[in-house]
């Protein structure tokens, strides 16, 4: 599999580390235990297109949101995390 890092260009899988579902958002301070429990443990396991968090540890150390089809491994979009250091990256 190859991922096109917005900073480094197309790179092979070995440079990246997979975290998982990128959708859950960390609850704000003061959230209930149930809300935090859902955030920590409940993950969608989609057979199809999903957003995932990947870390380009073998490259620029950016966290990326990778839109990937889990059935075909086709990657349709890669976006840097909001704090990855680039507000807008050339497509």
């Amino acid at each position: 599999m190859r991922i096109t890092c917005p900073f480094c260009g197309e790179r092979e899988l070995g440079e990246f580390t997979y975290l998982g579902d990128a959708k859950p958002a960390r609850p704000a301070p003061g959230a209930s235990e149930d809300e935090v429990y859902d955030y920590v443990y409940l993950r969608d396991n989609i057979a199809g297109v999903m957003d995932e968090s990947w870390y380009h540890g073998g490259g620029c150390r950016a966290w990326l949101k990778v839109t990937r089809n889990t059935l075909t491994h086709e990657i349709s979009a890669v976006e840097p995390a909001p704090g990855a250091g680039a507000r807008q990256v050339a497509k």
């Binding site: 599999m1 968090s53 950016a62 966290w63 840097p80 909001p82």
Partner: protein
């Protein structure tokens, strides 16, 4: 030795370059350009192996990587390689090969008596027979079966050769250099594409080498030479021979194995044996051709029975005659080429047995000119044995029988396109009735099949399809140059009457490598294993090293016939890479032995090695474990000396392996507040603080000291083991969770050499190192102070007054390039104070004496409170793990918590891992209350001590409990105690 079956002229072998080789100890000679198989053919050797199950004599069936029978042990000693196909092994001078699966010799094989018991060795035999008693399986059945069945012997010593891994990038990768592949390369190359053409063989050309033909009005050989010259002139076209494209992976990544030096006795110095390529290509053209398929009939495994196209390869390409008097059994037009080639080479043709009702007038006149009969019917039996074919029984259409005397039989049952690569992403090929074969039905993204691999069998069609596919691939890759015109050749009619299996008496083999017969398939069907996936596993059809290249389609055709279904209804099994066996060594490449992973050396490593340090592997690092001195009898003596030296004077330890992260920015403090359970935003500049971070699920993740060097600059340390993971975690927090914070992280682990200097004389030693202007007094540099200092000579260092040992101690960081000089200076300056370098063992002893937790306690199951660090938790802020750490089970009063333990028998040695059981109870899972995490011999207390995780431990100080160690067979009592064994009020470290 004379080459009795070498033709007088022709072939692509170099008669000026004779090569000597041996097979089963007997000497032969061949020529450069031969394979081992062709050289054996040229020497009239027919028997080359014994079969897997029945030990039947076997010969050479094919001339390529699909070979099921002619497997040998190649080379000797450490380079002995089992199950090597003689048909692809290039001949070299001095080659040594041995036949497999026979004893005592190939000619006289004791185990061939298995044939007499053949009726019991049917499909599922092992499953049915060796079921009971179960314990017999490992002890008796399996070893016996493994001795009797099987293939070659692997070398029993490590492989002395090197293997390499490499990447390549191109626009178009092409599998196969037959007419379709060459035409594709021409079109893509002329268009300006970067092309890699992989050819499994050691010479490009594919079937052109054996079958010739006329292209663009030129004889095939001339066209081939011209084409290779043109491709060679294109700067971006690379032809890789001896290279098999074996798999396709996501994102246009292709696996290829290059046999760089397999054609030599051993690789030249500093060269690799094989190289594993990962090729990244925008487009792929599969021009891998087709494999001729056998017809299954009784005795079809007799040496001398050979694929018709293989016979043409041996005669035309290698000038070697597989037989003197040849018969052909075919069900299609193409097989007849073998007759033409045999006649052209001056060989006799005994007969053609053609299963079709009609043959062409041209072939009829060829038969009358050649003086051989054409029999309409099928071969139903073979009279012969280990010396080869003698006579064929023929069932004629209409029921009559005939016999044909011949010493070789060419068989053609049609052609199967090579659909592996196109099907590796779970693609299922589709059936085409007109050629009675499976062809690709779609392919992984970016891939297309062309020529025979796509079911286009004529030479003209191969060239056309290949050229179009190459031109389209180049266009798709953005290369728009002029591809010119396609090479032109005639197309031949391909007429075939499907014929898979001829009924007859005797064993008729479908899968020759695994000895699966037509009757095994019928039996599988009777026993309910009808699905092709069940058929495969029950009979082991297609599961040998050849992966059923010659047998799979015939097998499922026979299954289709017995179930009354059509072949497409029966379907194929799933295709999986690799297309040819790839050595594990090639996948490992250079990553073996000491190079299995990277080795990290600290800046002090070479100095420590000079001191005679014993090193321990800690993750990727080599760390000095202790520094033995002359006369010390074991590690314990050395470690004890080091601890005493520190506690009584001064010592230093290399702690450069700690993870080090510079945290910069206006919000650096706020950021640290969110990742640690305690607060850092209120840490004064010039101070250090111990921090504990949790995972979001509330469990402790890592610990370390973090210092504030400036208003907006913190220096964070992690444990050695978690350095990389903590960096990744903090980057996630910064980039994903808290992007609003103004903070930057820089890994500086490798920038600093860090020393822990400890002991009551630390300050005396440091004064010799640090610039005299720096105030190191208790007032000028108090406990938990941290700041940049100048060293004598001007080098800037970071100095931290922190202590892991419990002694008066500093940690000092110097730029990595000064690390070794620093160590030498400490030794010189410290001589008057008896300075002693100490290793990780002494470090561990002192931390256990002080009750500091480390890796064994930060086990991924413990909370801050479990570690006795619950009071650090801030209740005034949010941080990672805060909410989940409050879950019921994580704050339960009966959790196992860290306490100290001492044996009641002071002379007793403790060992970590022992279970803690209430005294007087019989150990069992129900009363298991925890376990011993860390132990050491404490020189300070002169006894063994330990840390343990024990249920309600802190409430049980003074209680005697039982330590149960079933692994080592030890049982003893220990007393639960305060984990801080040494200097509990911490006066020494503050002094």
């Amino acid at each position: 030795m004379s080459q009795s079956h070498r033709l007088a002229s022709g072939g692509l072998v170099d008669r000026a370059a004779p090569l000597n080789f041996s097979f089963d100890g007997k000497s032969f000679s061949g020529f450069k350009g031969d394979t081992l198989a062709s050289a054996l053919v040229a020497n009239g050797v027919k028997l080359v192996g014994r079969s897997f199950k029945y030990h039947r004599p076997r010969g050479i069936l094919t001339a390529g990587s699909e070979e099921p029978n002619a497997l040998v042990e190649l080379r000797t000693g450490a380079r002995r390689e089992a199950n090597t196909k003689a048909t692809t092994a290039e001949l070299y001078d001095g080659l040594e090969a041995a036949s497999q699966n026979r004893w005592p010799s190939l000619n006289f094989d004791v185990m061939s008596v298995n044939q007499l018991f053949a009726p019991i060795f049917v499909a599922g035999f092992y499953y049915k027979t060796f079921m009971w008693p179960a314990k017999f399986w490992e002890a008796i059945y399996e070893p016996a079966i493994r001795r009797a069945a099987g293939l070659g012997r692997a070398a029993v010593v490590p492989d002395p050769d090197h293997y390499d891994k490499a990447w390549a990038h191109c626009d178009v990768v092409i599998a196969g250099s037959g007419p379709a592949g060459l035409a594709a390369a021409l079109a893509a190359g002329r268009s300006g594409a970067r092309v890699i053409l992989c050819e499994e063989d050691f010479v490009p050309g594919g079937r052109l080498l054996a079958d010739g033909g006329t292209i663009d009005g030129l004889p095939a050989a001339e066209w081939l030479a011209r084409t290779l010259a043109e491709l060679g002139s294109l700067p971006d076209v690379r032809i890789m021979t001896r290279t098999t494209l074996f798999g396709v992976y996501d994102g246009g990544t292709y696996g290829a194995i290059e046999r760089v030096n397999d054609h030599l006795p051993q690789p030249p110095e500093h060269q690799v044996r094989q190289r594993l390529w990962r090729i990244v290509a925008k487009r792929c053209v599969v021009a891998a051709g087709a494999l001729e398929r056998p017809i299954v009939f009784a005795g079809n495994d007799t040496p001398g029975v050979m694929m018709a196209s293989a016979m043409r390869s041996y005669i035309n390409r290698y000038a070697a005659a597989p037989a003197k008097r040849i018969a052909l059994f075919t069900n299609n037009e193409d097989g007849w080429h073998t007759v033409e080639v045999a006649l052209g080479a001056g060989l006799q043709v005994a007969a053609v047995i053609d299963a079709r009702a009609e043959i062409s007038p041209a072939h009829r006149s060829l038969a009358s000119k050649g003086g051989f009969p054409v029999l309409h019917g099928s071969v139903s039996g073979v009279d012969g044995g280990k010396t080869g074919v003698r006579k064929l029984s023929v069932s004629l259409t209409g029921g009559a029988r005939a016999e044909v005397e011949a010493d070789g039989l060419a068989v053609s049952g049609g052609w199967n396109p090579t659909v592996g690569l196109t099907s590796y992403h779970r693609g299922r090929p589709k059936w085409r009735d007109d050629i009675a074969a499976f062809v690709p039905d779609g392919a992984p993204p970016g891939m297309v099949a062309a020529g025979a691999a796509n079911g286009a069998f004529g030479l003209g069609a191969c060239l056309r399809e290949g050229f179009e596919a190459g031109a389209a691939a180049a266009r798709d890759a953005g290369r728009a140059g002029n591809a010119g015109s396609a090479p032109v050749a005639d197309d031949e009619a391909f007429s075939l009457t499907p014929l898979w299996h001829v009924a007859g008496k005797g064993k008729a083999f479908v899968d020759q490598q695994h000895d699966v017969t037509a009757s095994d398939i019928e039996l599988a069907q009777r026993e309910g294993f009808e699905s092709v996936e069940h058929l495969k596993r029950y009979t082991t059809l297609g599961m040998a090293t050849d992966q059923g290249k010659t047998s799979n389609v015939a097998g499922l055709a026979i299954m289709a016939a017995v179930t009354g279904k059509s072949i497409p209804e029966t379907g194929t099994t799933i295709y999986r890479p690799p297309y040819v066996p790839v050595a594990i060594g090639a996948f490992a490449g250079h990553h073996r032995d000491e190079n299995f992973h990277a080795t990290r050396l600290t800046p002090l490593h070479h100095w420590a090695a000079e001191q005679g340090a014993i090193f321990v592997d800690t993750g990727l690092w080599k760390r000095a474990q202790w520094y033995p001195r002359a006369g010390e009898k074991d590690w314990l003596e050395s470690v004890t000396r080091e601890v005493k030296a520190v506690r009584g004077g001064v010592g230093f330890c290399d702690v450069s392996t700690l993870g080090k992260i510079d945290v910069h920015g206006a919000d650096a403090g706020a950021f640290l507040d969110r990742v640690y359970i305690n607060t850092f935003s209120n840490l004064a500049v010039g101070k250090a603080r111990y921090g504990l971070m949790l995972r979001e699920d509330g469990i402790v993740y890592d610990d370390g000291t973090t210092s504030r060097l400036a208003e907006e600059h913190y220096f964070l340390t992690t444990t050695t083991a978690k350095a990389g993971l903590v960096m990744q975690h903090l980057e996630f927090c910064r980039q994903v969770l808290f992007p609003e914070l103004d903070v930057q992280l820089t890994s500086v682990s490798d920038q600093w050499a860090q020393f822990s200097i400890a002991g009551p004389k630390t300050r005396d030693l440091l004064k010799e190192i640090v610039d005299p202007s720096e105030d190191l007094s208790n007032e000028g540099f108090p406990f938990m102070g941290a700041r940049e200092v100048a060293l004598r000579g001007g080098v800037k260092a970071r100095l931290f007054r922190i202590s892991f040992s419990g002694e008066m101690a500093f940690e000092i960081s110097v730029p990595a390039r000064y690390g070794e000089a620093m160590a030498r200076n400490l030794m010189i300056a410290g001589q008057p104070f008896g300075v002693t370098p100490y290793g990780t063992e002494a470090l561990g002893v002192m931390r256990i004496e002080k009750g500091h937790v480390a890796g064994p306690e930060l086990s991924g199951t413990t909370t801050a409170a479990d570690l006795g660090l619950g009071k650090m938790t801030s209740t005034k802020k949010d941080f990672i793990g805060r909410v989940m750490a409050g879950r019921e089970a994580l704050v339960a009063p009966d959790r196992q918590v860290v306490v100290g333990i001492k044996p009641t028998d002071k002379a007793r040695r403790l060992r970590s891992g022992a279970h803690i059981i209430p005294k007087g109870e019989i150990p069992g899972p129900d009363n298991d209350q925890g376990y011993v995490t860390s132990v050491c011999f404490s020189p300070t207390l002169d006894q063994w001590i330990g840390l343990a995780l024990i249920e309600r431990g802190r409430e049980r100080i003074g209680e005697i409990v039982h330590a149960h160690d079933p692994l080592r067979g030890e049982d003893y009592d220990v007393e639960i105690c305060n984990p801080v064994f040494y200097d509990p009020d911490g006066g020494r470290q503050r002094g």
